[in-house]
Symmetry: C2
Subunit: 339 residues, 2 copies
DNA sequence: AGATTCTACGAAAACGTTTTCGGCAATTCG
DNA sequence: CGAATTGCCGAAAACGTTTTCGTAGAATCT
């Protein structure tokens, strides 16, 4: 229960002033070698570490960055955090995490809490509800107060800030193209409802790839999932009531669910139906068969987002207000679910 | 770029003193209704929010709790964080996360960083390296400075603090007992090296269950995995070179790897070999066949840990130094991998 | 010796709060 | 009418730092 030691206590014990202690510990030339060594020795003995709250107040910088994400139990978001944490730590920053739980209100509340001096800048991905409402006043308010924001994955074009995304259209295109080159003729896609950007954009790329190859809209089958937690019946109905030799799913959960439904009804994968999933996570690696996926590189996205944010934080504040959108390349990882 | 508004600015603009503004906003009876309303209106218009850093410094409380975990891309840890975040937010606390990456040094560094006033208390699970070294000086130091710690999952008996664990011995016992009741005779277990507590304890419970039923040590097969990232060959060799009709794996990764190896070699699950896994995560739910698991209830553990920490934080500091170890019950979730 | 420059330290302000205390004026009481 | 009470507000301290400025004494220069 040794109380936390402060400059004041050291000063009192050593009968010098607070400023002398501070200077000595920072190797100021103003302090004689003798006094300096005495102070340093004492500080080390009692394990003095400057109080970071006091420093934050004085410097008007917290050396903390705030993350707001919808959920942490999604592998993709966990990898992003991992990436953010890695580069943040390298540069002496700490990471505060809050979860919106896909709720607009929680997103707003958390943002306001963090904006009151707790952090220097934001890294965030919008909640589903926010995407649906298209209400970004909380972002705008924070940005107006001069606090930098970097958005990733689920971003909004309405907010001027740095962004890190994957090219979902290109990725959807690549998935379809990959299957077409394997000689597949009748493709299907399982996507999300349209206000989820990633689902819409991936579907769009998928569609474009087919059209470039001369397919018509009626040549492929489309399923939009509303509720990700209760998608099994929908997916099972979809795969038994339609004919296709290849399937794209905009996340690995849909993919593995479809895979199991297909196998349950006697189809073999990839011979009868090939599958390409998005979001390379743990499921793709361990499903039976393992899934060919388009990887999102969450770790890399998180790292880039953190680097861009810190760059903004450490440049002179008032300068050129230019924002950049980094597009992280996806990678297609071939596994057993495609021939 | 509207600068952040402070009490001082409000005071200046309204030509009153800082203390008057502070009191007015906190509904002090010392301030006349007229002045109070004027100040409150002004504050609302400019969206004043008290600076949390200044409050932290004044109150010597940050209303933040720090989490140190080995990895965040493990589903179990993600669920724990989710639980911590939930109850912390309910009680007005924020959550700072740092990752040790299973490294002792990073754990020490992160702990020292957070201990310098950034947070009010710790919730943590030890890194593998720390478990191996059995070096807990960093925990002891922090605890001595009066900062409360709650450990979960990977804990140490050497440190006096609250703990939240599952009864791994009982869980291992339950897993074996469950299989024996299903009529299985030759059991095997895939575990980790012994310094990982959870692996050792679950194995111990498994062994005890068998002994109570009159089995001898040579009646079951044992595999200890050193490197979780390269366990496939070891597991495949294990399952083809041994005979058993049931298998327990101390995590779902081992379980699904074993399941696939068995199926590859023509065994069917659960008819030929039944499987019980630990750590109910996403893999267990979506593997083929789905896995019967012993769930760890990470969300619940996180919630309990946070509640206990906050309870300590908000009680009068100097009181009874009593510590509690909460044992969270595991639950056996039956799925397709057992008959 | 007198003027100047170093050397080595302390005082105080600042960051944004909250809170204790003191005080002035107006009102009530005896 | 003098004394006590009340209503309303401001000054200042405190939290722990860093940094600017001032200064006393010693050393150096002329």
């Amino acid at each position: 229960m040794a109380q936390k030691i402060t400059l004041k206590k050291i000063a009192k014990d050593l009968k010098v002033s607070i400023s002398t202690v501070s200077k000595a510990l920072r190797d100021s030339h103003e302090i004689s070698a003798e006094t300096r060594d005495k102070i340093k020795e004492y500080a080390k003995e009692f394990n003095y570490k400057p109080n970071s709250i006091a420093l934050s107040l004085k410097n008007q910088k917290t050396k903390k960055i705030g993350i707001i994400i919808p959920e942490i139990v999604h592998h993709f978001f966990a990898t992003v955090i991992s990436g953010v944490e890695r580069v943040a730590n390298e540069k002496g920053y700490q990471v505060i995490i809050t979860l919106s739980g896909e709720s607009f209100d929680k997103e707003v509340v958390n943002m306001e809490m963090l904006a009151n001096g707790s952090i220097d800048g934001f890294i965030m991905s919008l909640s589903k509800e926010t995407m649906e409402k298209q209400d970004f006043h909380h972002l705008r308010e924070v940005a107006n107060q001069g606090m930098p924001i970097v958005m990733f994955d689920r971003v909004s074009n309405d907010i001027p800030c740095d962004k890190v995304i994957i090219d979902d259209v290109a990725a959807g295109h690549a998935a379809a193209e990959f299957l077409l080159r394997k000689g597949k003729k009748k493709l299907g896609i399982i996507s999300t409802v349209d206000y989820v950007n990633v689902g819409r954009l991936r579907s769009q790329g998928f569609k474009e790839a087919l059209q470039q190859r001369g397919f018509e809209v009626e040549d492929y089958q489309y399923l939009k999932i509303e509720d990700i937690d209760h998608c099994e019946n929908d997916i099972e109905n979809f795969v038994v009531n339609n004919e296709f030799d290849a399937l794209v799913a905009v996340n690995e959960l849909f993919a593995v669910t479809a895979s199991k439904a297909l196998q349950k009804h006697g189809k073999s994968i990839p011979e009868d139906v090939a599958i390409v999933a998005f979001t390379d996570g743990i499921l793709s690696k361990y499903a039976s068969p393992t899934l060919t996926t388009i990887g999102q590189k969450g770790e890399e996205m998180g790292g880039i987002a953190a680097a861009k944010l810190i760059e903004k934080l450490e440049s002179k504040d008032h300068e050129n207000e230019s924002y950049e959108t980094v597009i992280v390349k996806t990678s297609l990882i071939e596994r057993e679910s495609t021939p």
